[in-house]
Amino acid sequence: MSFENPWVHGLVLGLIIANVSLGVTGYSIWFERKFAGRMQSRPGPTVVGPWGLLQPIADVLKLMQKEDIIPASADKGLYNLAPPLTVFFVLSTLAVIPVAPGWIVADLHIGILFALALGSLGVFPVWMAGWASNNKYALLGGMRSAAQSISYEIPLLLSATVPIILADSFRISDIVEAQLGGHWFAFWPPGPGMAAFVLFFLCSLAESNRIPFDIPEAESELVSGVSTEYSGMKFGLFQLAEYLHTFIISLTAAALFFGGWDGPGDNDGFVWMAIKTLTIFVGIFWIRWSYMRYRSDQLMAICWKFFLPLGLALVMFSALWVHWA
């Protein structure tokens, strides 16, 4: 039993990556509250610990103490299954994303497809929660979520196809290695690469139900969407899945379009991956606290009328680029 054994290697690395991601997610909530607070001219959390640093722990403790309410008319099995399932699907995605050379749990040769497939599976627990809650708002939220995720799956896949074509591999570590030396796909090919990144970014926002595409949650219309009936830690798991999804988007985008661990000169390493990921992560928060949300039909219109043709054009372009250049 050495570290060379893929089982041990995968287990140890998986535990480390999953726990670090959970920690980052927990503290991203603190950071978001602080960041949003300052953007809204208020200090944010200040009371629990220095600069409110213990706030995520306090939040989780509070959620754990809350009464776990199961509506009498809910489908109890599905109702209880949905929250852990959301976290499970999101967390599994981490297995195929390399954070540094060799730091990957399972270096699948179809890694990017695996990640996108698990991301789209995430719609099932959401719909499950919406249906099992037996609540009209939750039902509407689940329907919206299903429609939105299925629609945005297509441009998301198309935009992810661009780095696949450019790197000539589905393996994420191969895609990152193709970008080493500063050939980041976001800037090379110039223009379309950035467009592919923006498309990927926006579609991922829609996949993870973030503003301005957060219509499944839409707390001003559907009280809290699918999580209306959930309380306590089950609600917390939904939130955790959402933030974790956001984190994974940043991680994937950094690997696919910004060269992963590629740094200036020969300084490659984990640090650069972390810097790129966190920059995109902060960008998502910045967008979240700056925009309102679209209506559901406008959301669909944007997807089918704008994102889908753009994605197809980008795929065509990258194919031609590889062919001619």
């Binding site: 953007m39 001219s41 967008i287």
Partner: protein, 186 residues
């Protein structure tokens, strides 16, 4: 490029990120500065002779729109300090739970006995905590947080213009509507 204007949101939020925060820290750190007229809670005060100023005239009880003041007059007695006869108040209960902070009781008090405080009453765990009895009200006087307004000062502020002095005793007195007294009598 109108769609570029959509990015203004990000700029506005970034601008606000570097503005000083506008909210105060939680109360145990710093108290908010209130203006001198700010009114929140009540106090009964002593007059210049050191006696309780309330004479139990029940004016505040009558004017209170939400009927939260109960005055038990103590009858007219000879004052031990000045030797003059004056009224006393036996009990005075003000139920702050239903108070709408309208300042009318302060305005009608003929002796400036009831005043409003700059500070709010501490929140309690049950309703009885916010019922201000006579003891609590006199306790509040020691807080030294009474507002600017007293009955006399409020009345002075609202004094209407003095009627124009009649130059000549003219035989025909023009009836002046609304300028004349409408209040003062029951």
């Amino acid at each position: 490029m109108s769609w570029l204007a959509s990015f203004d949101n990000l700029a506005v939020n970034m601008l606000n990120l570097f503005r000083p925060t506008n909210t105060e820290k939680l109360p145990w750190i710093e108290k908010r500065e209130h203006s001198s007229r700010y009114r929140a809670s009540f106090a009964l005060v002593h007059n210049e002779h050191g006696e309780e100023a309330c004479i139990g005239c029940k004016m505040c009880e009558k004017i209170c729109p939400s009927e939260i003041i109960t005055v038990v007059p103590g009858g007219r007695k000879e004052s031990p300090v000045t030797g003059k006869k004056r009224g006393y108040c036996d009990d005075f209960i003000l139920d702050l739970n239903a108070c709408i902070i309208c300042e009318l009781c302060v305005q009608v008090c003929p002796e400036d006995a009831i005043l409003m405080l700059n500070v709010q009453e501490a929140p309690g765990y049950n309703r009885e905590d916010l019922v201000l009895t006579m003891d609590k009200l006199y306790e509040n006087e020691k807080l030294d947080a009474t507002t600017w307004g007293t009955g006399t000062k409020l009345v002075d502020m609202q004094k209407p213009a003095p009627p124009p002095p009649k130059p000549e005793p003219e035989p025909v007195a023009a009836p002046s509507p609304a300028q004349e007294t409408d209040g003062g009598t029951t």
